[in-house]
């Protein structure tokens, strides 16, 4: 049942996104070319329509499945056990947010410093407990990556006040 409900939810959400895309995103982002048969907006519109149809189909299948089980009722939607448990994704959100912060900080502190700090944080986040050990491993690993990529592959990383 949960799977059918999830399908219904996902289908509707995707359908909503497609509608948003078609009526707001595409007109906002693509300048329609007037005098041509197939302009830049043709393909995106077509794709959004197809995606919307598939999404509706997924939602429909979910709804039909629920109906077969006799669960297509308002009480199913109201049931808190069927809600998405956003709290359980706190760790994931934190991981992504910390990664974005790392990228934001990098142009100011330079690649090496930002990476050492971030990696130390990550090691602790993923289960280690000895911060000193994490820091040491970070320094070694980041240094190795830095040298391999800058010397062998001639990639230049963002530089901070210390020059690296």
């Amino acid at each position: 049942m949960e799977k059918k409900y999830a399908d219904l939810r996902a289908g509707l959400a995707l359908l909503g996104l497609c509608l948003l895309a078609y009526f707001w995103l595409i007109p906002a982002q693509i300048k329609v070319k007037e005098d041509v048969a197939i302009g830049p907006e043709f393909f995106p519109r077509l794709l959004v329509i197809c995606c919307g149809i598939c999404a509706a189909g997924v939602a429909f299948e979910g709804a039909m499945g629920l109906k077969k089980e006799g669960k297509l009722k308002l009480s199913t939607f109201r049931n808190p056990a069927n809600r998405v448990n956003y709290k359980s994704y706190g760790k994931h959100a934190l991981l992504l947010a910390s990664a974005l912060a790392y990228l934001f900080v990098m142009p100011y502190t330079g690649f090496v410093i930002a990476s050492v700090v971030f990696l130390t944080f990550l090691l602790m986040f993923f289960g280690h407990s000895k911060i000193g050990w994490c820091f040491l491993l970070s320094v070694i690993y980041v240094a190795a990556i830095y040298f391999i990529f800058t010397i062998a592959f001639k990639i230049s990383f963002p530089k901070g006040p210390l020059g690296f």
Binding site: A10, G39, P40, F43, C54, A99, H128, Y141, A152, F153
Partner: protein, 508 residues
């Protein structure tokens, strides 16, 4: 004949052989590091090759090419991160095999498949260069569109149980491919006035985000103590690859190699398309297609054979017409020119010795790959022995560095993180990811070829049906689509017992 012998003798020298081995090693490392593409690796070797004698230089480049095409599979299998765009399909089953404790087996299959693909690709190059290039020239925009349509049709097969979800994923992939400049009019689409999106979403941002980062996020669900556990030594179940297992793949390997070589022959299409088409085709041919994606040998053998065969194929237009068949051969042109070899229609007539040099270098490169790879695999496989709590953070850093390395742009890394979230959401809602990937890869060529064809035909659709090759491709696409949808229906009607998230048994 004398020229052939003369050229062959040039290769009987320590310097040349060392050059080839060095190239293979450089290629494997470059290919294995996510973000360092095969073209980057060869571009880096270019300045060095200028000072070397011609056979050594060409050996170096060929070794790097073949090495990189294998190297990508190493990180694909071990850390779910395609090391090169051509290893994206290998990631799907390769990583699953590693999770089952079969990383050594997967790596060995990848190596042997790569070598087999390299050999068959070179044989095709040798035997059929001229006729192939004539046929390749007949491929204009309508034919390219037909080919892309065929690739799309194969998606129907890799959609898993829900065709609708697979199609939705594919649509999303195609939409992602439209981000950037319109190919015909140059209009900006979905760029949010951000100059970094003018050329579209970078392939690596999507690949690394949707494979590696998504996996990272999924692993996070396990909790800190689970991740901190030492890797179970008993977890390494099966690291050997028997000859019987290799031999069981023979048809798969040959077909995939041919697919790879043929795709390589067409200018503008290369490893990333070939690996998916061969993967999807292997699944279509397989007696147990539903097992693809859970960690089957075919799923590793097919793309790896294909991407190494692409090298041989891409050299066909290069040597016969002077037109590179893919991004990597495009860089090779520069290298060849500086050594006094002028790739063009007159090459076979004026300088057949150089052509033989390339052929022999390719063969030797494949052999060198076999040896170097064998030595390297036990080393690479040790990575799985690390604790997840140590391995996963290190992977994240490599993902960041790799995504950054391709364009030197932090924005691409931000997108990579975004796609990690997208992939994670898709997984949770059971939307299959491979259709998104393949649609994204072929999306821009699909739309471009369609619109180019329509410009040429003054918006008359019949152009696709009046040209013979295009018509054949269209018909085959429809036929494939039909059969795969039918098989998909049969699969969907089979119910399976599955343990769902809360630990209860449920019917699916």
């Amino acid at each position: 004949m004398d020229i052939l012998l003369e050229t062959a003798l040039q290769f009987v020298s320590i310097q040349v052989l060392l050059g080839i081995v060095a190239g293979v090693i450089a290629g494997i490392i470059g290919g294995g590091l996510p973000g360092i593409s095969p073209s980057m690796t060869i571009a880096l070797l270019l300045p060095i090759s200028l000072y070397l004698p011609t056979p050594v230089a060409i050996g170096l480049m060929m070794g790097a090419y073949q090495g990189a095409m294998f190297g990508g599979s190493i990180s694909a299998i071990l850390i779910n991160t395609p090391g090169t765009a051509s290893a994206a399909a290998t990631t799907i089953d390769g990583y699953q095999m590693a999770l089952k404790g079969q990383s050594g087996k997967a790596l060995k299959m990848a190596l042997y498949a790569s070598c087999t693909g390299g050999v068959i690709g070179t044989i095709i190059l040798l035997a059929m260069a001229k006729p192939l290039s004539t046929i390749a020239l007949k491929f204009g925009p309508p034919e390219y569109f037909g080919l892309m349509l065929l690739s799309l049709a194969l998606i129907a097969g890799i959609s898993g149980k829900s065709l609708l979800k697979g199609l939705a994923s594919a649509c999303i992939g195609l939409l992602l491919a439209t981000v950037g400049m319109d190919p015909i009019y140059g209009t900006r689409r979905f760029t949010f006035r951000n100059i970094n999106l003018s050329d579209g979403i970078q392939t690596l941002s999507v690949f690394i985000g949707v494979f590696a980062l998504t996996e990272l996020l999924s692993q996070l669900s396990q909790g800190r103590s689970a991740l901190y556990k030492k890797a179970d030594p008993l977890a390494v179940v099966d690291n050997k690859l028997s000859f019987k297992e290799y031999w069981s793949q023979r048809v798969n390997l040959v077909v995939s190699s041919i697919i790879g070589a043929l795709i390589g022959v067409l200018p503008g299409i290369g490893g990333s398309t070939a690996c998916f088409v061969s993967y999807a085709e292997a699944q279509r041919r397989s007696k147990h297609p539903e097992k693809f994606g859970t960690g089957v040998l075919e799923g590793v053998a097919a793309p790896e054979a294909a991407n190494n065969a692409v090298a041989g194929g891409a050299l066909v237009p290069l040597l016969t017409l002077g037109i590179p068949g893919d991004v990597v051969t495009a860089i090779l042109v520069g290298a060849l020119i500086t050594h006094g070899i002028k790739p063009g229609p007159l090459l076979f007539i004026e300088d057949i010795g150089s052509v033989y040099t390339v052929y022999i270098a390719m063969f030797l490169a494949v052999i060198a790959l076999l040896f170097v790879g064998q030595l390297g695999i036990p080393v690479f496989a040790k990575i799985v022995k690390l604790r997840k709590a140590t391995l996963l953070p290190m992977i994240l850093i490599i993902c960041v560095v790799g995504t950054y390395a391709s364009r030197g742009n932090l924005f691409d890394v931000v997108l990579m993180i975004l796609f990690g979230a997208v992939g994670f959401t898709m997984n949770k809602n059971k939307f299959p990811i491979p259709p998104l990937i393949i649609a994204f890869v072929i999306g821009s060529q699909l739309e471009t070829s369609l619109r180019q064809s329509l410009i040429l035909s003054d918006y008359n659709i019949s152009i696709f049906f009046t040209r013979p090759i295009s018509l054949v491709l269209m018909i085959v696409s429809v036929v494939f689509c039909f059969f795969m949808v039918r098989r998909n229906r049969k699969l969907a009607n089979k119910t399976t017992i599955v343990i769902n998230d809360s630990g209860e048994k449920e019917e699916e």
